[in-house]
Symmetry: C2
Subunit: 160 residues, 2 copies
């Protein structure tokens, strides 16, 4: 009888511990709402050339991009994904103290609350799931989140 | 003895159930990596005018934006945040069947794997945490994720 109680107790500790973690995690989610962004591919730099290597499952999303001369590449400043770096709201542009302290929303600083980077890049070629682009101010391996072609060359913008 | 076993069994069912959820959730996280983006404010439309109302805590990030004539507004297509809509990879642009089926990465479609929207908007005024912009193809209440001013007017781009 005593042995059974001890067994039950020992068995339940890690289970209850795990459940408390779940609750804490859920509470955080409700305290500050967030959305999920998934990498769709990555930047690859090789022999002075730059490629966007899309995950194969997203290749169908490139249909028609061959007609475009450039693409806006949306990627993630993954090296700065810490609460401390995401809390930075003002920087000296280009990391140069001679440049006046400026709000991150007036800059393209890699320090910002959401680590979204956008670069407009000339398209050199598209082969299956690989796009060669002219150049990008990103590290090799940076996760790519989205691509947006020169849409307004084909369709006029709506502004309401 | 029998009663004790039954009590233990009944007591443990919800605990183990909860933990299975935690495990499943953790497995999903490791199967498909994601990054978190947090709303920093929202779009407000009033009497034909359009405002970006930044959460007060981010106001310091606007320092210097007053000198800029436009801003790239990054927002979230929150109405399409379902796995089904995020799985759409090809669309008829503008929802018009006469437009050929096109990959979402060649369009600005609100259906795409990551629901990131980007609009270049003229700045009318900035007062504290509120920016009046000329217009945007977004719904009232859309969550804003980031702002990027006309940075390259002040600093030349690096391309490596």
């Amino acid at each position: 009888m005593k042995t059974l109680w001890i067994t039950c107790l020992l068995f339940s500790i890690p289970i209850v511990g795990g459940c408390q973690m779940l609750t804490r995690s859920e509470q955080q989610g409700s305290e500050s709402e967030y959305f999920k962004v998934y990498p769709i591919g990555k930047i690859e730099k090789k022999d002075g050339r730059t490629f966007i290597v899309l995950d194969k499952e997203y290749e169908a999303g490139l249909k028609g991009l061959q007609k475009h001369s450039y693409v806006h590449v949306v990627y993630w400043f993954d090296r700065n994904d810490t609460p401390e770096k995401r809390a930075i709201l003002q920087v000296h542009p280009r990391g140069d103290k001679n440049n006046p302290l400026t709000g991150v929303f007036a800059t393209h600083s890699p320090f910002r609350p959401n680590l979204i980077a956008i670069s407009k890049c000339d398209i050199i070629s598209i082969k299956e799931n690989v796009i060669e682009i002219k150049g990008i101010d990103a590290f090799d391996g940076s996760p790519v989140l989205d691509l947006k072609g020169d849409f307004f060359r084909f369709y006029k913008p709506d502004t309401k």
